[in-house]
Symmetry: C2
Subunit: 295 residues, 2 copies
């Protein structure tokens, strides 16, 4: 059985067909424009790439993943212009007439890493992306976590020392929440340049590591993950992950009595084994679980 997968991000969509990391049969990436055009391109791609058993869709959020809800399948309160209340599942299902499994982009990525990557064998771990925005997916007790809606790591509140960093933050809802202070968009607006043009500026990455680590500390205190997988475009700065690990260990301050957070932190906070394909590959797995009646 061949599956379709969509990583529907706020910046770009990745669509693929296949069965896993060693068997990606077709893949396309295109920018996220308006809903009609973007969903249309995805539908065209799947219509012209063979017979599929189902499609998994991992979407930027917040989304409604509650099957019993009248608004199931929608992107809900996103600040992204034109996308609030988009019924992305209905639009794709109408175009393709295929079973469709729907979750957040980061829950899909967590599922991909669980099946084929850094989450293999773990029952409680997180996948976090620091890109244009910040999002987090969670597997808890062996299943993706939804609860009331789904995790929204990007909107945690973290300490913000305005004397050291007077920047107000970029979140249109919360100002200086986690995403408001530490996303790629926050970096670009704080320093006046995109992250990739700031590679040589240590101040940028020290501050970024401080913020990223504060959010991870809160994830550790709430979810107690067995591992944290952290990806996204901002993490492509090579100095950042080692700085984040060091800051998390310092913030823990020996409290948790877990060697993983101290001596083993290089193995505790890790890059995605599937790289930037975790989301779209996880969407295959989402589709497979739907076909097998396991969702």
């Amino acid at each position: 059985m061949i599956y379709g997968g969509v990583e529907a991000g706020g910046t770009k969509w990745v669509c693929a067909t296949g069965t896993g990391p060693e068997d990606v049969q077709a893949l396309v990436t295109f920018p996220t424009t308006d809903p009609g055009e973007t969903i249309g391109r995805a539908a065209d791609f799947f219509a012209s790439n063979g017979t599929l058993a189902a499609i998994g869709l991992g979407s930027f959020g917040p989304i409604d993943v509650k099957r019993s809800s009248p608004t199931w399948g929608r992107i809900t309160t996103t600040p992204k212009p034109g996308w609030a209340d988009t019924d992305v599942v209905a639009a794709l299902t109408d175009a393709l007439d295929l079973p469709l499994a729907f979750d957040t982009d980061v829950n899909a990525a967590a599922l991909g890493e669980h099946r084929w990557g850094a989450g293999a064998g773990l029952d409680t771990f997180c996948y976090i992306t620091v890109g244009t925005g910040i999002g987090g997916g969670v597997m808890a007790n062996g299943k993706l976590l939804h609860g009331l809606i789904h995790p929204e790591f990007g909107h945690m509140r973290i300490p913000h020392d305005r004397a050291a960093d007077p920047f107000d933050g970029v979140c249109p809802y919360h100002g200086d929440c986690y995403e408001g202070l530490a996303s790629g968009d926050a970096i670009r607006r704080r320093w006046g340049k995109p992250p990739e043009e700031l590679a040589g500026d240590e101040r940028v990455w020290e501050l970024e590591a401080d913020y990223v680590a504060l959010g991870l500390m809160n994830v550790i205190c709430t979810i107690s993950p067995q591992r944290i997988v952290i990806g996204g475009g901002v993490m492509n700065q090579p100095s950042l992950l080692p700085l984040v690990r060091r800051r998390v260990t310092a913030l823990a301050a020996g409290y948790f009595g877990a060697a993983e957070i101290v001596d083993g932190v290089d193995d505790y906070i890790v890059a995605p084994a599937l790289g930037d394909r975790a989301g779209v590959l996880g969407a295959f797995e989402l589709a497979r679980l739907a076909v097998d009646g396991m969702l």
Copy 2:
């Protein structure tokens, strides 16, 4: 079958025998002194109160709940004098020769509320206590959450506006973490009086509600609970829970698209249905699950 339950808190221990809220056959409460004396009093209570099938022990933490660990059954890095590295399970088992199930006090309370209280029918929710310290228990996807160790809500980092509140916080590990700013101990040291003597002072409770709500917002962003059950001695101040609810709704700022956090907040953030017996009753349930091989 009659069970024994212990809520082993940092301030007091509650020991009981019975089968549930309607059938508490004996109950005793005593202050937490040194480990030998405290555990001895618990052992004496159970030895003289009939034949028990098993004992459930919900303990203050951090504790080692990993069955495969050589230090399973211990209280680990607690700052409480004399209690670090106490093997509380071994001490009780040696004295009583009964099966013993071990978890955090707040996970036990979550279990109690799940069986008989405000968590009934939910598969993902939190129990949080704001008392001398702050702790959180989590049921995620229908099971108590442990992960790497177990949730430690009290040590999240939250915004701290030192201009408005110059108090440094009381956590010996982290200073102004959640517990450092918002626990009963923090209130007592910030204002120079215990919480119960500050009932009429609005400033105290406005600030407290701000901090409590910031932590709950981070719990919502990470765990996405279907409900938050909040207890503990500090919450006995009657004005506090309504203030906390209002602040959480304000902090969410309409982002989550979940009516529960806005219109339904009175039913979303609630006091424990079992009151201050959630922990000890949950310990009965912990014992029952152990006997039934369900842990």
